[in-house]
Amino acid sequence: MRLLSKLILITLGGIIITTAVAGYFTFIFTKSALQKTIKDQQEELGRQTMDKISRLLYERYIDIQSIAEEEDLEEYLTKGGDRKSPERRMNELRFLSGPWDILFAVDKNGTIVLSTKKEESGTQKKVQAEPFSLIAFNAALAGKPYYSDIIVSDDTGRRTIIFAAPVRNEDSPKKPIVGVVVANLSWPAINEIVFTIPAPLATHLHDKNGVLIAANEPIAQNMLFQESFRDNPAIARALKGEKGFIIGPGMTHKSGSGQAMKTDDASPESLISFLQEDGYLGFRGNGWILSIETPTDIAFAPATDTAWNIVLLMFPIILFSAALTMAFLNRFIVRPVTDFTEVTNVIAEGDLTKRAEIKSKDEIGKLAKSFNTMADRVQDSFNILRTDKDRIETLMESIGDGVMAIEPDGKIILWNKAAHDISGWPKEEALGKNFHDILKLVRENDKKDNSGFIDTAMKTKTAQTMANHTALVRKDGKEIPVGDSAAPILDANGVLQGIIVVFRDVTEERIIDKAKEEFVSIASHQLRTPLTAIKGYAGMLLDQDAGPLNEKQNEYLREIKIGNDRMIGLVTALLNVSRIDLGVFAIEPQQVNFEEIAKEIFKELAEEISVKNLHIETDYDKNLPEINADAKLIRIILYNLLANAVKYTPSKGFVSFRIQKQNHHLTITVADSGYGIPKDAQSKIFTKLFRADNARQKDPNGNGLGLYIVKAIVEASDGKIWFESEENKGTTFYISFPLGGMKKREGTRMLQ
């Protein structure tokens, strides 16, 4: 998942959870707080309403006492007299204060002397006829203003509260009571107050028995003055003097017929605030109870709604700030990371030059910086490696010889330009293939596979040379002569990693060699032809074919012959040397008996030996095997050494010849007691045309090539030659010759 998505998910998740929790609690608390406010408000309303009622009643209470102090009334009740004036006053007062349903005055005997009710006026009705009024009268007569609870008036037949106050004679010193004024409160005044409270608040006024005396619900009107709501928990508590609120079942609900019914439960849960009348100043009240009830869903609706609204208002705000946060996070964290990732991608794709932009100093910036440093290093290493690789490739491609590298399984992993040129197989076609399919090496004569040297190199982990007369079959089928070698590629632990095969077109070489050989051949032929003629004619003259010779003629002719023979020997030696140098002399091994050859040579040298009276010793090993060697070449070796020994030993000296068989080789020892090789000549004794001074003295005819040729042949046989010598004491030559003999070699020429 993308970083931004993760970020959004986490932020969103966090915000949603936080918001949900915060919202929930905000809602709860706000609702709770608002509900409290609503409850308080409702209570307050109740209190104010109750207050109004109490005040009203209090004012009436004061009013009746004021009325009781009316002079007209006082005078009439004291002295009597004209009724009309105080009656009129009373009618006035009925509206001026109050309003009263009825207002009447009673004398101290109980006779209603004045009344706003016309029927009563002047009838001398007794107050005893009205029980409630009587109570009022008696109370006032006792000297104190009186008020009743709600009653139905005897007089008017209407609900009312009776107020009464004593009328006193102010003039008299003791202010005796002369009468009582009684008034009936107009009940609508109270109702009015109750009705000021609007629906849906259901206001109920109960008397001290819990009976409903006023309500603002039209539907409750039929319940007035009937049943007591004393059992209602709110009312019950109010009756105990408590005030406050409960949440409980409402007191009234509509029945199906639209009539209000008293209920105890199963009516909508309501907020019911209640209180009991406290009175007002001097007016103690009747212990009435005011309750206001509102179904909670209506009452608390504002709370819930407001809380909801607040919470809902939160959401856009929170979402907005969340979006803002995420935008900032995106800008400062996600985007740098994305940009950075982009850069790493570009680099991973191969563009090592790309670098991250460092835009900030925070951890991301540091990361970018480190990354850049690392990328620099990688690029440098890469460049170095590439330079090296390029260099190696250039080297490879510029090598004139074909270079092929293969893995141990034979798969070609390297194929340079020269390999392509020589074989005709381009690199793309050669790489990855098994070399047997591409590099076809065959024997020139029978076209048999000749790539065995590669397998040998692999098996033995040593370098191997291509066999002579190997040809490469090109892609187009043409054959070209090739030469060179295979070498193993070993790692640090000596484990075979592959083989490098180098091959070159030797056509040119062959041609050159052939030309050289031809030249030498022709040269030797050209040199020998005149020498042959001289030899022939000189011989014939010496044979006296052209007539007899005198002594001098014989002598001179001998000199010619000797000189000529020397020349011939030199030419032959030079020819051999040239063949040795070219490496083209043939080796044809056969079973050779060294002893036999040695004995033949001794026979040839017999004359000189006897002339010089030399002592010869020979020692042939009893177990001397026949060696696989080229007889001609062995002969050359032995002849040279033995002839030298004989030549360079003075009369009466000795020459010994020994052949011994060792474990892996023959040791041939040729020793003489001759003139020896001077120290300063010893290092050069095997070089071409070298003759030590003493040797030249003793035999001016030598050509200085013999030992060079001997050494070359010995070494071509994988043998060794060395010597010990002291001037005028003698010389001993040693040859170590491998028992395995000489390896067959095809050469164009044989040594003579």
Partner: protein, 129 residues
């Protein structure tokens, strides 16, 4: 000095005039009938005409070298049995190989052999000793 004739014919095929004359003289001195040819072609003609007892054959010659001449000679019925000794200064393993295949009786290196020794050799080969 003339010796009594041996009644043997020898054909010498050699391109070097002085050597040819010299060796022919030598053979004549000893009593051979010495025939001369200066190149392979001439030698082939004379061989087939004269049927010599032995042919002394050089290798390097213009107008047909010795071995080509020999192979041609062998195609002839008489030629296939003619006695031939190769007498040359230049030789290689290959030349000797071919010469052997063409049935030469010997191969002599000119510069190593005195004329008189060549004569001895020929006599030996012809069982004349």
């Amino acid at each position: 000095m003339q010796t009594k004739p041996l009644n043997k014919k020898i054909l010498i095929i050699e391109d070097e005039i002085s050597i040819l004359n010299g060796i022919a003289d030598k053979f004549a001195f000893v009593g051979f009938s010495a025939l001369k040819a200066g190149n392979g072609e001439e030698g082939l003609v004379r061989a087939l005409k004269e049927h010599p007892d032995l042919i002394l054959l050089d290798y390097r010659m213009p107008n047909m070298d010795g071995l080509t001449m020999l192979s041609r000679l062998r195609e002839d019925s008489w030629g296939s049995g003619a006695r031939v000794i190769m007498w040359s200064n230049s030789h290689s393993a290959g030349t000797i190989e071919r010469a052997k295949k063409l049935g030469v009786l010997d191969f002599l290196v000119k510069s190593d052999w005195e004329f008189k020794n060549v004569v001895e050799k020929v006599k030996e080969v012809l069982n004349m000793n």
